[in-house]
Symmetry: C2
Subunit: 214 residues, 2 copies
Amino acid sequence: MLDKKEKRTKQSVNREVLESRILRAAEIVFASKGFSGSSMERIAEIAKISKQNLIYYFPNKDLLYRRVLKEMLDIWIEKLSFLEVQGETPEVIIRRYVSEKMALSRLYPNGSKVFAHEIISGAPVLKEYLISHLKPQFDRDVILVKSWINKGLIDCVDPEHLFFTIWAATQTYADFSVQMEVLLGKNTLEEADFQRAEDAVTEFVVRALGAKKK
Amino acid sequence: MLDKKEKRTKQSVNREVLESRILRAAEIVFASKGFSGSSMERIAEIAKISKQNLIYYFPNKDLLYRRVLKEMLDIWIEKLSFLEVQGETPEVIIRRYVSEKMALSRLYPNGSKVFAHEIISGAPVLKEYLISHLKPQFDRDVILVKSWINKGLIDCVDPEHLFFTIWAATQTYADFSVQMEVLLGKNTLEEADFQRAEDAVTEFVVRALGAKKK
DNA sequence: AATAAAATTTACCAAAAGGTAAAAATTGAT
DNA sequence: ATCAATTTTTACCTTTTGGTAAATTTTATT
């Protein structure tokens, strides 16, 4: 095998398909029960393979769990760099940030719930990651917001807690969706609900920053 | 036994003490692992009794879980009626509401986490409760906020999503405390952190409503 | 067609978990 | 002191669970 990229035989394609089916199944189960409450048997059932076959692809539960978390974090990291595009106003950057965070709740509710279970449980697996990856990025973003304040571009707000509030307000549409469905009297949150939610949250944040109304 | 209230013998007092010790232990374990992930053995261990003795007091795990949830909900219901005191402005009411919700996160982080696990897991136990108790109260509160808008007391905001954001922004200080500790570089959230958080969240909400700054 | 590699199934297993049943110990009331 | 009620411990039991090991079947390569 001299090729870097492996040959895409029928077998290897099937493998990929099956692996991602397993990961989706695992995501569903972990989202519903957290790590300790989930069983390999149940994951296999949802992936429509035998437990032993599941173990063939992911030799243990821990590994599978970490893969599910990693998949989600990779997406978040990619979509959630709070990068400053030249010439953009804070308001534009913040609006995009809220919008993208909300899109993640809408598109990856299960991954989001897995993450939530993990953090609520004390982040036994992710703590190191939070320290090594999230904190540095957070510190940079806080500094950026502070610079906006110093330049008078936005009102004086608490930068750390601004982020906490944005995260909470957007993530809640994935994690607590059942509660909202009940309160809004719907079976599932639809596209329109997410749009209203995004508008509402965006407006709250923009007002908090003292930017003018849209 | 003609007396309605039972005699407070040494035994009955001990029983109460032990029961509440068990409930606190259960809260800790359920908060950390959710229902399915928690074991009676572990709860007994933390309550410092044997598993069999735990089962003597709470004959099964389901019952114990429901008791823990009920305890938390009773507190919430009591503290979180969004009642309109005569002559109070919306701003005062909202400030108190945020303040009390934040106090619950500070004072009952474990109960809050148990609730979060339950909702994220699809509210298998609490769904009925949400429908029968929370929704009616929510509907009333939404109507109240709408009336404020109609009277021009606050700006035009989305009442439903206003509540969702307030809940999320306050609850996150209980549920995601580990993440914040990492990001703020602290071992635990202290009184001062909660005070800052409360000020920040309150300010966000008050601004969103278009009330004047404090 | 034959052989190697990959995928799936079958057969088990030890530990953990939720409980039941009953014996033993402790406490309360007379 | 005695007897009943309560509490705690001891002994088990069944089901679930994560995982090993090996046999079997399917697929790819020559």
